[in-house]
């Protein structure tokens, strides 16, 4: 716990330091421009950021000292599972990172110049990623029993990884596909096994929620390239469930 506090506080110090050096003083190595601290009318745009950054730095140092002094309630022994070098667990964060990179990938100017950057490419990459996540997660739950101590780490990894996947696929694949994949992968990953509940839940989460929010409440949700698949499914779904 104590180590956790120290790392978190160092994180805040680095955050404030970067904000001060790059954001306020405009460090030359990234061609940023300094924010004026003063102008003709009074304090300029850089005034508040500078003092806040300095305050954060001072508080961060203060907190490091405070945490360093007290050993009682932040002993070295953590009540939470510690990460261990287990290959299976690293799969999800890596996939999550890949999803982020792939989602941002086509926007790199260099790739756009050689023609990679269209919506189709983004859709294909996201689909492949979603399939990869599916495979990883479908294979993974069988190992839950062996990894009972680490199950909570896996569950958290699954939630975070699938959230990143959802963010990556939301616009390229549309809300319905994303919601379908998200719930269909997350439920088994969290330990749900009853298909008689999972299937209607997943269908309602994707098609039902889309119908209510997009058609009834007029909330603009991404449709995605697969609308032609959903038209007949939506019709059948509402024929059965209405």
């Amino acid at each position: 716990m104590k180590r956790g506090w120290q790392i978190a506080t160092l994180g805040f110090i680095v955050f404030a330091g970067l904000a001060l050096v790059i954001g306020v003083w405009g460090a030359s190595f990234i061609n940023a421009r300094p924010l004026p601290l003063k102008d003709a009318l009074g304090p300029g745009p850089g005034f508040f950021p500078m003092w806040l950054s300095i305050l954060t730095l001072l508080l961060g140092v203060g907190l490091l000292v405070e945490v360093g002094r007290r050993s009682a309630d932040y002993g070295e022994e953590s009540p939470y599972p510690q990460p261990s070098p287990d290959v299976t667990r690293s799969v999800l964060p890596i996939l999550a990172l890949l999803a982020l990179v792939a989602w941002k990938f086509p926007t790199f100017p260099l790739l756009e110049r050689i023609g990679v950057g269209s919506e189709t490419v983004r859709a294909v990459i996201s689909t492949v990623l979603a399939a990869g996540c599916t495979l990883a997660l479908v294979l993974m739950p069988q190992r839950y029993d062996e990894l009972s101590d680490n199950a909570s780490v896996l569950r958290i990894g699954a939630v975070l990884g699938l959230l990143v996947m959802a963010a990556a696929t939301l616009e390229p694949l549309g809300f319905r596909v994303t919601a379908f994949l998200f719930t269909a992968l997350l439920l088994p990953a969290l330990g749900a096994r009853n298909l008689r509940i999972i299937v209607p839940f997943v269908l309602s989460a994707s098609l039902g929620v889309f119908y209510i929010f997009y058609h009834q409440l007029k909330v603009p949700l991404p449709i995605g390239p697969y609308d032609w698949i959903f038209k007949p499914i939506e019709a059948a779904y509402f024929f059965i469930f209405r």
Binding site: A8, T9, G23, L41, F48, L59, E66, A72, L170, V219
Partner: protein, 498 residues
């Protein structure tokens, strides 16, 4: 027009069939949010903002306010039946509420909580009606220096009351203020910390931040340890025994007062009134040893204080434009999404709307009472839904909610990142409320500071020569000093134990 006439007009608007329906839907959804473990009122209200996009501003705000106090009540149900608080304000209810459930008196605990919530809510709203106009008229006389000092008091309170380390509390506030800097400078319009990324020009939306910190962060905590046990208890008997009524009414009266006065002060979170009420009940009881073993006052007092606070916290929001808690900050965001800026001008510019909202508080409290007494059994059933489905459903609504505010995946990304950060900060026990209030008050705080200094041509004595400003600044210093004094010996003690 007199206040009464305005209020009656408000009732006229709030009683329209569609607004009544919005209040009802809001109360049901709010209670549902309160009942679902892992979704507190702040995240729940934020997630449900997209539901109101199609509504007119009055209907939207009425529904969101109903969601808010519905969630404040719903948290009680999980406290009593699961011993897991649905939201922070119900923590103290776990002690005696859960003990009552184990003794087979769960129904009575929930019934007393519903009655207390109703009484507290209605009285706080009556008091809101009385103080709203004078306070907003006073606030109209405030200049930028006064507003700066007032917001500073609010931030100092939320910092000082936040947790076991004052430095960590201030640090979180300042980090929140720094996150608020991203985007266009509120005074001169210069882009700051945008790094050429177009999405950052609008700043970091605080609604995705709240959804991440409070919604996803909490769900990750429940995903970590999903085991929970619903207590089988008697839910058919909702009212206390005849000899208990006297004690119950006294607790409800005290809870109403405590909740209301603490709700008026910007920065006092929803936990403090419930704890204060519990302590007061325990001190005043003839036999304090009953507390912890199912004392009915231990449920009646805090639950009343909780709802009284929830309604009173609307006073600083509506009259000064200052939110008291993260949930109220979300409501403030909902006002802004609907094109309304809460504050003293709202009473002048849109009186019909403000009074309709205030009237809807009365209606909402009645709806909650009608809804909760007979439906206690149904809410208890919802607790038996396996957590996997709650988790998947809530996360999906988080994605939908974050995306639909600006139709931007950037907001979804912000939410996910804040979810991860929120989970870590929660595990390390860093306070999150100051961070959120820092983000929402940041732009206003900076604007009032810089406008004050422009008024005085850069002379800082402007903060010490105006009486209201000076008094408020002294209060801010006292709050921090008291918090430092209270925390310091404890830390030394904790350090010395080991």
């Amino acid at each position: 027009m007199s206040t009464l006439e305005l209020l009656l007009n408000g009732f006229g608007a709030a009683m329209s069939p569609e607004n009544l329906a919005f209040a009802l839907i809001g109360c049901v959804l709010g209670t549902l949010i309160g009942v679902l473990p892992g979704v507190g009122p702040a995240a729940g209200t934020a997630i449900l903002i997209p539901l109101t996009f199609k509504l007119d501003p009055t209907g939207a705000i009425i529904m969101l306010c109903a969601i808010y106090y519905g969630a404040m009540y719903g948290g009680t149900i999980t406290s009593v039946l699961l011993n897991v608080p649905g939201e922070a304000a119900s923590v103290i209810t776990c002690i005696d509420g859960h003990a009552m459930a184990k003794q087979g008196r769960g129904g009575t605990a929930l019934g007393v909580a519903a009655i207390g919530s109703f009484v507290g809510g209605v009285f706080a709203t009556i008091a809101l009606v009385v103080v709203a106009v004078p306070l907003s008229t006073l606030a109209l006389k405030f200049g930028p220096p006064e507003f700066f000092a007032l917001m500073l008091v609010g931030l100092c309170l939320v910092t000082g009351l936040a947790g076991r380390s004052l430095i960590a509390g201030i640090l979180m506030t300042v980090v929140g203020l720094m996150l608020a800097l991203v985007g266009i400078d509120p005074v001169r319009g210069a882009p700051r910390f945008t790094f050429g990324v177009p999405d950052l020009y609008d700043g970091i939306g605080f609604i995705p931040v709240v959804m991440g910190l409070f919604g996803i962060g909490e769900i990750l905590m429940t995903a970590e340890k999903p085991v929970r046990e619903v207590v089988r208890t008697n839910l058919s008997k909702l009212f206390p025994e005849r000899e208990e009524w006297g004690r119950v009414w006294a607790s409800i009266a005290r809870g109403t007062g405590i909740g209301f006065f603490l709700g008026l002060i910007p920065g006092v979170g929803s936990i403090i009134p419930t704890f204060m009420s519990y302590i007061a009940e325990k001190r005043l009881a003839k036999d304090p040893s009953r507390f912890g073993n199912g004392a009915i006052e231990g449920v009646a007092g805090p639950e009343t204080a909780n709802n009284s606070y929830a309604n009173a916290a609307m006073v600083p929001l509506l009259t000064l434009g200052i939110p008291s808690s993260p949930t109220i900050a979300v409501l403030m965001g909902a006002f802004i999404v609907n094109g309304l800026t809460p504050g003293p001008f709202l009473f002048q510019e849109k009186p019909e709307l403000v009074w309709a909202i205030i009237a809807s508080f009365f209606i909402g409290n009645v709806v909650l009472l009608i809804l909760n007494l007979p439906l206690v059994g149904l809410w208890a059933k919802i607790l038996e839904v396996p957590y996997q489905y709650i988790c998947a459903g809530t996360l999906l609504f988080c994605i939908l909610g974050a995306y639909s505010i600006n139709q931007s995946v950037f907001d979804v990304t912000v939410m996910i990142i804040c979810g991860g950060i929120g989970y870590l900060l929660r595990k390390l026990d860093f306070p999150l409320a100051p961070l959120v209030l820092g983000i929402i008050l940041g732009p206003q705080l900076e604007k009032s500071l810089r406008t004050s200094l422009e008024m005085s041509a850069g002379d800082y004595t402007i903060f010490f020569t105006r009486p209201i400003t000076l008094v408020l600044l002294i209060i801010a210093v006292i709050i921090l000093a008291v918090a430092a004094l209270q925390l310091a010996p404890k830390e030394i003690r904790e350090g010395g134990d080991d």
